[in-house]
Structures are given as structure tokens and as C-alpha cells.
């Protein structure tokens, strides 16, 4: 029987082990100290009393029951992970769950990328792919509104630096409409992790906060070209460079180490998780790319991934990366990961000014490319070779 994967603690369990929390509004059901939840939070504080949890009797039909009857005779629908007691997102047990890990060093623009990607998927993407994206739970909705949309789209400012601690994921449901005559819906749950760049600076912190990477369906490495010394020397005097200078090879090799540790993977085998090596802030290095390069023009994917464009972009970025950081990155990635591709994106379209304001508003460029490629590798969408303009 296929096991369910908790998006919070990444424990796997069978549908019969799913627990329920009684939320009897009359308060007849006694509160109990929730040790599991307290252990998950792990800040050393004593357990918090929560409504009681229970595992319902084994259902006649396999699968997770919609509801369960508590001993207080209240029928509850609130499901929980039996290991961490976090609320189980609605419908997660009956859909394909794809965890997208957005990984990158500090200041590469992970939060900006996620903020703009989700906004794009919510608005523009739907028409072209006959799909819709919506948040699964209130926590996601609130967090996206307060920590992402508020800054980028409402205040038009850069997103404040992300706090270095374990955060809850952003969970979305992507619904595709399939078929022409007999229409049906295909539902995919997307789990995005946006963690602070500080978490990628040592293997220890990576282990502590980013164990989700091993359970990811796709990894999106965000790399900041402005942190590469070769790029900085070529653009000297023209751009303001971040103070960070994280070597992309370090981040990739640490990630590889963590995934192999968690999965217990042999060093001789390559990791089969598709990896999108994505260079952010493409707008800032556009002048380093030759005129007529595919990286100068945006690509609108109409219902399918434009494979021709993706391959051209991959080759272009691979070539330039080799020039900027040498062939070490390519060698490392090709030896460690079975599937990978290079991308170049710009989430904001321009760099924020010295006050952190996005004066011209958000103008994303090729923001979908790596995400769509991951969906394509996960067989969620199709790809097609097309003539490029």
C-alpha cells in the first residue's frame, strides 16, 4: 500500500495510521497535552493542550476515511499526521504530491522567485494550461499574503530577509482540466519550501532545516550570477553586487550530501530527483549574453513545455556557466544528478533601488521555465518541440 508523506515532518505512514483531532465545539472532549506537536516545534517548551487525537478503527474500504467519530460522539474531519500532529492539508491524501525544493544561498532571490512564481501560476498560467492554483490551507494563504505579496505587489519593495529557522511550507493545489469531450480534472499538490539562505551555509544547518530535500520531487537550485567573481569583474562599476559570495558548487555539493545521507544513497549512484539549475537576476547580466541569444527573449509556453526553447536555453546557460565558474559545476551536477537542466530567470525584471523599492513594478522574465521543466520531468505536463521565433 502506498504510503502518505507528511509535508511537515516528512514521515511516511499508511492511510490507516492517519489520525483525527476532535474539535467538538461544545468542549465536551477533554484537552490533552500534545507531546508530538510539541516535539515537532522543539523549542524546549512543555506540551500545549490541544483537543484529543485518535486513530479511527480500520475502515472497511482502503484509504483515509473522510471523517471519524470521536468517543465524545462528535464527528470530526480534521486529519493529522500521526507523527508530528500537524493538520493534514485537505485532500492531500488523494492527490499527487509534488514537493518543490527551492534551494539557494543567501541573497540569491529565493523568496522573490517563489512570490512571483506563485502569482504567475495563479493568474497567467491558468489560461494557457487550463489550470488553476489555489492555496490549500489558511497558513499558506496568510503567509503568502503577509510575507510575499504584501511586499512585492502591494508595497513594491524587496522582500525582507528570511528568518533562519524552520518554517512551514507553502502548500498549493494545482488543478488541470484534461480532455476535450470527456473532461476530467487532474489534481496535483505542490509543496514549496522557502527557507533562509543561512540554512545552506553548513551541512549541519542543512541537515537540521532542509531534510525535505530528500523527499522532494524536484529541486530548483537558484544561483545568483552576481555572486560569481567572474561576473562581478565583467560588470564592475555597472552594478551593485551583493556582499554574499557563495560558491554555487558548495551549495550543490552540500545538498547532494544531505540527500544521500537521508536516503542512504550509495555514492556510486546518481540522485534521480530532477534538478533545475536556475540563474536568477538574469536582467542584471543580460549584457554579458550575446545579442540574439535565447536568453534575451521571453518564452510563452502554450499548454505544453516548449522543449526547443528549453534546450536552447539550457545550452546557452551551460556555456556561460562554464565560462563564469569553470566546468566544475557541470561536472559535479552531471555526476551526482541523473536529470538536470540550466535556466535563467528574472523574478522582478529589475534590481530594487538603493531603498529596496521596485520602482517599475514586477516584470518577471522566464520565471516559469524551470518550474514547467520540473513538471514536465514529473510527467505532470507534456512537452513539445516547436519552432522558436
Amino acid at each position: 500500500m502506498a504510503k502518505l508523506l507528511c509535508p511537515y515532518c516528512f514521515s511516511r505512514f499508511t492511510s490507516e495510521q492517519m489520525q483525527f483531532r476532535c474539535v467538538n465545539p461544545t468542549g465536551d472532549c477533554p484537552m490533552v497535552l500534545d507531546v508530538e506537536l510539541s516535539r515537532f516545534v522543539s523549542d524546549g517548551s512543555p506540551p500545549v493542550p490541544k483537543p484529543r487525537t485518535f486513530t479511527p478503527p480500520r475502515p472497511f474500504w482502503p484509504g483515509v476515511p473522510r471523517s471519524a467519530m470521536c468517543s465524545c460522539r462528535y464527528e470530526t474531519r480534521l486529519k493529522l499526521c500521526p507523527h508530528c500532529h500537524n493538520e493534514w492539508p485537505t485532500g492531500l491524501e488523494s492527490t499527487e504530491n509534488l514537493i518543490i525544493a527551492v534551494i539557494g544561498a543567501k541573497d540569491v532571490g529565493k523568496s522573490h522567485y517563489i512570490a512571483v512564481l506563485i502569482n504567475t501560476l495563479t493568474n497567467d498560467f491558468g489560461v494557457r494550461f487550463r489550470a488553476s492554483l489555489n492555496a490549500v490551507d489558511d497558513r499558506t494563504r496568510t503567509r503568502y499574503a503577509a510575507e510575499f505579496r504584501k511586499h512585492v505587489y502591494e508595497e513594491k519593495t524587496a522582500i525582507p530577509t528570511t528568518r533562519a529557522a524552520r518554517t512551514y511550507p507553502l502548500i498549493y493545489r494545482l488543478v488541470f482540466e484534461e480532455g476535450t469531450i470527456y473532461k476530467s480534472l487532474r489534481v496535483v499538490t505542490l509543496v514549496f519550501f522557502d527557507t533562509a539562505g543561512e540554512n545552506f551555509t553548513t551541512t549541519n544547518t542543512l541537515n537540521a532545516h532542509n531534510r525535505y530535500m530528500a523527499s522532494a520531487s524536484g529541486i530548483l537550485f537558484l544561483l545568483d550570477p552576481l555572486q560569481i567573481p567572474a561576473v562581478q569583474s565583467r560588470l564592475a562599476g555597472k552594478r551593485v553586487f551583493p556582499e554574499e559570495r557563495t560558491n554555487p558548487i558548495d551549495v550543490v555539493s552540500r545538498t547532494d550530501e544531505v540527500i544521500r545521507n537521508v536516503l542512504g544513497l550509495d555514492i556510486h549512484k546518481r540522485i534521480r530527483i530532477p534538478v533545475a539549475l536556475t540563474f536568477s537576476k538574469l536582467d542584471a547580466i543580460r549584457e554579458l549574453l550575446p545579442r540574439g541569444s535565447v536568453a534575451h527573449r521571453d518564452c510563452i509556453h502554450q499548454g505544453v513545455l516548449n522543449l526547443t526553447d528549453q534546450e536552447q536555453m539550457n545550452e546557452t546557460m551551460r556555456t556561460h556557466v562554464a565560462q563564469w565558474v569553470g566546468t566544475g559545476l557541470e561536472q559535479l551536477v552531471s555526476q551526482r544528478f541523473a536529470e538536470y537542466a540550466y535556466f535563467g530567470v528574472s523574478a522582478l525584471g529589475c534590481a530594487p533601488d538603493e531603498h529596496g523599492r521596485i520602482a517599475g513594478g514586477v516584470a518577471p522574465f522566464r520565471i516559469e521555465d524551470p518550474f514547467l521543466w520540473l513538471l514536465y520531468r514529473m510527467r505532470v505536463i507534456d512537452g513539445q518541440r516547436r519552432k522558436t521565433a
Binding site: V23, P25, G27, M31, L33, S38, V41, S42, D43, G44, S45, P46, P47, V48, P49, K50, P51, K106, D107, D138, T142, A146, K150, H151, E155, T157, A158, I159, P160, T161, T162, R163, A164, A165, R166, A196, G197, E198, T201, T202, A208, P242, E243, E244, T246, E354, H355, G356
Partner: protein
């Protein structure tokens, strides 16, 4: 006192060696795992409505975090977290957390509460250029939070102080978190209001944070937050999950503030800050380590020592005092008891508890203080109130000079009370208390006179005699004289029994009885004195012989009726009497013997035979056998139980004949009926059965009832003759208790054989005799019909006719 420090912020260089959020500096020796643990605690998320790029003024308005969290193993962490906006790279979202970790919380926070460090000038908010920070011995207080400041704050908002205090206590007890939505400084003051009132160890167990954007992700006991936080505040959360005090939106959890602790603390905050602050010291002294659940009691003790009685005193309160009596000083104990006793009339259970307290305090330094308060109160209460207090007084330091000295002023009151005692129990109680307090011997003549007045009352005798023996010769003499003066015949056995509980009184009584010439009185006393009734009987008969020279049958009969008053003598006693006094065995004893004789026939056949033989001799001698036939009945039953195969019906004929005797005792007749009925039911030949049954019924009509009962019990009602309506109805009535099976079998099968006309006739016949019986008969017949009709019967039955069923 020593705190390790650590700074955490987004900085260029720190302990991790790279840029970004990290520990900027820390005291050497910090365990890296501890740093990992506290990192999450000090995380700062600005409020949702806060400015994205705030000015300096706006920055100052960001909620300030002061958090305190015990970490286990005696460690705890204090931290101040402040939003500072820009980081080294010019990005917003930076904050600065200054941690202070103590290895020994009790030692390092012995003189100050964690919340008092609110805005302490020692808290830093700028990163250090050095990686190593020194230990800090002390955190200077800002003065923003102190008892007086909290008092004035609380008194401006008196409505919720009791709720917050009680909710905090509840949180420590059950883990139910307290969420306060307010300005950060107000939250700090609310936390102070709650923790000032707690015993020190509980205050140090109360973790808190003055601000958390998401209270759901904070594990603190008291969580402060802002109006725009992630806290949803659903009705379920407010009512059941959290104790919510939302001063911004006006949402409050229903908290029961009826506890004495909550009410007392709220009142104390109104009165003076010291009164609240001193409680911790009191709790440390008297009830160190008290649990949150029991702090109510500790507060009550504190209120008592403070001379401020709040609510009513319960025995549990006194028990609490009793368990901790040695921890109070004399002055405190005086104030406590003065508060309790001075509260007015006390219930007896409270007095009992005070009495326990007195006993516990005996060997402690506060013994004198306790005795000084309790002894006069108890003496006064004993004299003026109820008898129960006198018993307790009797147990109070017997003949203690101190008690007598304390109670001496009450002597005139006692004499007045004993002179005017309105009842014997009251007199006895006063006598007991007077004995303890030394009043009884102060004027023995006056006491003796009062004792003589009440000595005749049954309920006081034993106690008074007991006291009289202890008290003085005059009282004893007066008592015995009163006893002797009483006509013995008027003394009921209960009174004699009450005397004889005391060994010495028993001696006095024997003397009195020996002097008495009343054999009836003698017999009564001996019945109580001797466990074996036959011994009492024998002794009395012997005494009667000495007094009268001989003893008559009538005398023995009288003695027997006294010794076995209302009780059937045991068969062994009957045998012993009949063997000891064969010539004098009275006729009544035969009747006594009959039921056990017949009963023993089945249980103890040998003894029964022995008794029967004795009785047979006596019957012959006294010619009583012709009147009561006990032995004849015995023998007839024996014959029916052991049938002779040669002539099985002869015993039955004999028994039926005996049953027809006119003077046959009713009880014996019943035994005989039973035997006959059983024998009849065992006859298989219907002709013989009918013959003897008819004869028996002719001789003794009531036999039918007994027979029917037996038949019903043995499930063979088909053998019961129900040829006439009267018989049928009688049988039916007897069988009422067994109706279920009766409806299925037995009588019903007979009735089905009857023609409808005859069934109706039974109803008519019964109606003439007894309407109620006729109705009952018809109802039963209808029920019978409902149960046992055939398919066709049901098909053609007319509803309500009641005829189909009986057919």
C-alpha cells in the same frame, strides 16, 4: 549570579563564519546544542500591519519581545528581541536578540522576577565587534516593572486581573496557554501582575513572551501578541483551547474567578503592592514547592496570617494548617486561630479539624499559642453549646494545668449550666467537661446533687457512673442509692444493658440484684449478664428455689418467658430444659419445640428424633398430646417421607385423619398439609390420586390451596382439580406469580378442553361472588387467548370477544 550571553542578528560576521542571521557573539563555553535550541525562541516576526520600511519612530513602535523560558535541568533563558530593520546589506527584516542563559535559575533569579527585566538597560540591540561576551552577574532593572507600577496599572483595569491570575494558575496546572492581546508594555505588566502573585518557584515556571506573531508556534505559558497577529481567536479557541484576554478586540475567555486565590490576589492588588509581593515569601516559608493546583489553599493561609479572612473557613483549610503547623511562628498562629475562631459560630466538623490541629501542635513551638486560642474557645463552646464539644474537651490535655488555668474564669458559668441542665445528656456532657476543666471536684456536693437528680435517666447512667467513680465518693454513693431506689420491674432491658457495659457498674448491679427479691428483675439482669440463655434460666430457677423453697411449673414458665422473650428457644435449650426439669416442663414449651422439631426433621433428623422422644414422654405425662399433637404430626410426616412399599397409602390416610383434628396447631397443620400435598403429587395412578385428594379436601378444605401451590411449583397443574369455578379461581390466583409458564402449560391445557359455555359460566359464577375476581379472570383468559391461539383461531377470532383464546 551568572548569566551567559549571546547576540543573534543578521550580520557580516559571527560565530558561523558567514554572513546572514547567526549568533554574532556569545559567552565562551556555550553549548552549541543550547544555541540551536534558543535560536528559534528568539525569532522575531514583525506584525502584519507594521510598516515594510519603517522610519526610526515607527521602528520604536514595533513590539518589544521579552521572553523567558525554563530549559530544564535548572537552566532557563531570558531574551529581549527587538526589530532593527536593515541588516548589513541594506535589506529589511533584521532583528536583534540578546539572550541571557542561567545554569541555575533558582539562584540567579532569586531576587527578581524575569518580567522585571523588561527594558533593562543591560539588554543590547547592537552587534558586538568581539565574538566573545562576558558573563553577566546582574541585570539592572529599568524600573518600568515593579510592584507599585503594576498595582497602579492593574487598578486602572480592575476587571481582568483576577481572570489573568487565575488563567495563569490554570495554565501551570493544565497547560492551557494564556494569550494576551494588547500593547507590549501592557502585556508585560499583565504578566507581572500574574507572576508577582505566584510563589517564587511557580513564577519561575511561568514561561512567557511579550510578543509572538503566531501564538500557535509559541510554547510559552503566557503569550503576548498584537491585534493583527496570526491568532485567529475562534470561539472554540477562546472557550476551550486558550485563555484569551484580547484587550484590542474585546474578546475574553470565560474564566471562573471564584477561587480564593484569584479573588484574593485581585483584592490584594487593590489594597497594596506589598501584600501581593509578600505572598511569595510566605509561600516559600510555609508551603515551599506548592503546586499550582494547591496555591488556592496557600493563599488562604496567607490571608489568615494577614488577619484578612476571605470567605468561609473549611475543615480542609484547618487540615492544611495542621500539616504545616510547625512552619508558622507563634504570632502567625495566634493571628490565624484568632481569625478562624473569631469568625463566629463554627460547625462541628470545623471544631474537629481545630482539635486535630491542637493535637499536632502539642510538641511544636507554637503549642502554647494554639492552646491559648483553642482551649478557652472549646471550654466556652462546651458549656454553652452542644454535648459533642464536651467529648472533645475531655480529650484535650487531660487535667492540663494550663487548660484549667485558661478555663478558670468559666467556672461560675459551668455550675450555673449544670444546675439548670434541661436534659440528662446535657447534664452528662457538662459533667464530662467539668471533670476536664476541674470544676466537678471544686464543689462535689453540688455536683453530686445534680448527678442524683439525673441518675435515673437511662441514657446517662453508664457515663455518669463512670464519672462518679472517677470524680468523688459522694457522687458514687448518690448514684448507687438512686439505682437501688428504683423499682427493678420498671427497668427495661435496654437500660440494664446500658449499665452493664462498664465492668465496675456491673459489680454494683450484681450487688443490687443480689439484694433484690424480685425474680423477674433477677432473670432480666442475668439474661443480659450471661451470654447463654440456658445459664441465665438455670441460675434464676436456682435462685427462685432458694427464695421460695421450691419451684413450680408456673414459675418456670414465667422465667422462660422472660429469658426467651419474643425469641424461639433453640432446640438444644429445649432439650436441656426438658432433661433438667422433666417434671416441670411446661405445656408452652411443647409449642416452642414444635417448629424446630418439624424443621429439624429434614435438616437434623437424629436430633429431631431425640426431641420427639422427649416430647412423647412429656405428652404422655401431661396429656397435652391430645391438644397439640406435635409428636403425632412429627410421626405422620416421618411416615410420609419414608413410605412403606407394602402399604404406601396408609401414611397418607393417617396424615389426612390427623389433619382433620380440631385442635391441631395451625403451624403444625401447615407442615402436615405440605407433606400431604407432596405425597399426593407423587401418586401416578389418577384414580387413587383423585380419591385421596377428594378425601383430603373434604377433611380440610384449605389443603387444596397448599396442594395447588405445590403443583404450580412442580409444574404439574394439570393434576389440580379445576372442575369448579371456586377451585379454578383459587388455583389461578396461587399460580399468579408463575403466570408465564402457566399460560403456556398446566391450567391452560385443561381449560382448552372446556366448552365455551362452561368458561362463560366460570366468569358468571365469579361475578356473583366477587366482581373484581371476575374481571381478573376475564383478563387472564384474554391473555391466555392471545398467547396460544392457532393460526385458524387467530384468523377467525372476533376482536374483543375474548372467547377464542380460552378455546
Amino acid at each position: 549570579m551568572s548569566f551567559m550571553q549571546a547576540y543573534y542578528t543578521s550580520c557580516v560576521s559571527g560565530l558561523r563564519g558567514s554572513k546572514g542571521f547567526q549568533f554574532n557573539a556569545a559567552t565562551p563555553g556555550f553549548d552549541p546544542r543550547l544555541l540551536d535550541q534558543i535560536e528559534r525562541l528568539g525569532m522575531y516576526a514583525p506584525p502584519s500591519s507594521a510598516a515594510v520600511q519603517p522610519s526610526d519612530e515607527e521602528l520604536a513602535r514595533f513590539p518589544l519581545v521579552l521572553l523567558y523560558q525554563p530549559l530544564g535541568g535548572g537552566q532557563s533563558v531570558l531574551a529581549q528581541s527587538r526589530y532593527i530593520g536593515l541588516d548589513y546589506s541594506g535589506r529589511w527584516g533584521n532583528y536583534f536578540t540578546h539572550y541571557a542563559v542561567t545554569e541555575n535559575t533558582q539562584r540567579d533569579l532569586a531576587n527578581q522576577l524575569p518580567i522585571e527585566l523588561w527594558k533593562s538597560p543591560a539588554w543590547m540591540s547592537a552587534e558586538s565587534s568581539q565574538r566573545e561576551l562576558p558573563h553577566v552577574s546582574e541585570f539592572p532593572l529599568s524600573g518600568v516593572i515593579d510592584a507599585e507600577a503594576v498595582r497602579s496599572f492593574v487598578n486602572e483595569r480592575p476587571g481582568h486581573v483576577a481572570g489573568i491570575v487565575e488563567a495563569t494558575r490554570l495554565a501551570l496546572k493544565t497547560g492551557r496557554r494564556v494569550v494576551i492581546v494588547d500593547e507590549d508594555e501592557s502585556i508585560a505588566k499583565w504578566i507581572a501582575a500574574a507572576t508577582y502573585a505566584l510563589p517564587r518557584h511557580l513564577a519561575l515556571a511561568t514561561s512567557f513572551t511579550t510578543y509572538a506573531k503566531s501564538p500557535y508556534e509559541s510554547g510559552a505559558i503566557i503569550i503576548g501578541t498584537t491585534g493583527d497577529s496570526d491568532f485567529r481567536g475562534t470561539q472554540f479557541e477562546i472557550d476551550h483551547q486558550y485563555s484569551v484576554f484580547d484587550f484590542i478586540h474585546g474578546r475574553f475567555s470565560p474564566i471562573d474567578v471564584s477561587s480564593r486565590f484569584a479573588k484574593g490576589v485581585a483584592a490584594a492588588w487593590r489594597q497594596s503592592a506589598d501584600r501581593v509581593a509578600n505572598f511569595a515569601a510566605f509561600a516559600q516559608l510555609v508551603d515551599a514547592g506548592v503546586e499550582a493546583a494547591a496555591v488556592d489553599q496557600t493563599w488562604f493561609g496567607y490571608a489568615l496570617t494577614d488577619g484578612r479572612l476571605e470567605g468561609t473557613v473549611t475543615p480542609a483549610d484547618i487540615m492544611w494548617l495542621t500539616e504545616r503547623v510547625e512552619r508558622f511562628n507563634s504570632e502567625q498562629m495566634r493571628r490565624v486561630l484568632s481569625s478562624v475562631i473569631g469568625n463566629g459560630a463554627l460547625r462541628f466538623d470545623l471544631a474537629e479539624a481545630l482539635f486535630q490541629l491542637y493535637h499536632r501542635a502539642r510538641r511544636t513551638p507554637v503549642a502554647t499559642a494554639v492552646e491559648e486560642q483553642i482551649a478557652p474557645w472549646l471550654a466556652q463552646t462546651a458549656i454553652t453549646e452542644s454535648e459533642s464539644y464536651c467529648e472533645r474537651l475531655a480529650e484535650l490535655s487531660p487535667h492540663s494545668e494550663n487548660v484549667r488555668r485558661l478555663a478558670a474564669p468559666l467556672a461560675p458559668q459551668w455550675f450555673q449550666a449544670i444546675d439548670s441542665a434541661a436534659s440528662a445528656p446535657r447534664f452528662a456532657a457538662l459533667l464530662v467537661s467539668g471533670d476536664v476543666l476541674g470544676f466537678a471536684l471544686a464543689d462535689p456536693r453540688r455536683t453530686g446533687a445534680a448527678a442524683a437528680r439525673w441518675i435515673t435517666d437511662a441514657s446517662v447512667q453508664a457515663r455518669v457512673l463512670h464519672l462518679a467513680r472517677n470524680a468523688s465518693g459522694e457522687m458514687l454513693a448518690a448514684t448507687v442509692a438512686a439505682l437501688r431506689a428504683m423499682p427493678p420491674a420498671e427497668m427495661p432491658l435496654e437500660r440494664i444493658e446500658s449499665w452493664l457495659r462498664d465492668e465496675q457498674v456491673r459489680g454494683v448491679t450484681r450487688d443490687v440484684v443480689a439484694e433484690s427479691e424480685d425474680i423477674g428483675f433477677y432473670a432480666r439482669v442475668l439474661t443480659v449478664l450471661e451470654r447463654d440463655p440456658f445459664t441465665a434460666f438455670n441460675a434464676t430457677v436456682l435462685t427462685a428455689k432458694q427464695l421460695d423453697g421450691s419451684v413450680t411449673a408456673a414459675r418456670i414458665d414465667e422465667i422462660c418467658s422472660i429469658v426467651w422473650r419474643g425469641v424461639t428457644p433453640h432446640v438444644r435449650d429445649v432439650l436441656r430444659i426438658s432433661e433438667t426439669y422433666p417434671a416441670l416442663m411446661p405445656a408452652t414449651k411443647l409449642l416452642f419445640a414444635l417448629p424446630p422439631l418439624l424443621f429439624m426433621q429434614t435438616t437434623h433428623p437424629e436430633e429431631a428424633e431425640q426431641l420427639a422422644a422427649v416430647l412423647a414422654k412429656m405428652e404422655n405425662r401431661t396429656a397435652l398430646g391430645n391438644r397439640f399433637y406435635p409428636v403425632a404430626v412429627f410421626q405422620a410426616r416421618r411416615a410420609l417421607m419414608h413410605l412403606n412399599a407394602a402399604d404406601p397409602y396408609k401414611p397418607l390416610e393417617t396424615a389426612i385423619t390427623l389433619l382433620g383434628k380440631r385442635n391441631l396447631d395451625t403451624g403444625a397443620a401447615a407442615w402436615l398439609e405440605d407433606a400431604i400435598a407432596n405425597n399426593l403429587l407423587s401418586i401416578r395412578d389418577p384414580r387413587v390420586h383423585t380419591k385421596y385428594l377428594s378425601r383430603a379436601i373434604a377433611v380440610h378444605g384449605d389443603l387444596l390451596i397448599n396442594y395447588a401451590r405445590r403443583a404450580v411449583e412442580r409444574l404439574c397443574t394439570s393434576a389440580v382439580p379445576v372442575s369448579t369455578a371456586a377451585y379454578l379461581f383459587q388455583v389461578w390466583r396461587i399460580a399468579g406469580e408463575h403466570r408465564e409458564w402457566l399460560l403456556a402449560e398446566g391450567l391452560a391445557s385443561q381449560l382448552r378442553g372446556w366448552p365455551r359455555k362452561r368458561v362463560d359460566e366460570v366468569g358468571h359464577e365469579l361475578a356473583r361472588v366477587d366482581n373484581a375476581a371476575a374481571t381478573a379472570w376475564n383478563v387472564w383468559r384474554l391473555e391466555l387467548g392471545g398467547k396460544k391461539t392457532t393460526f385458524l383461531g387467530r384468523l377467525f377470532r372476533r376482536r374483543g370477544s375474548g372467547q377464542g383464546g380460552a378455546r
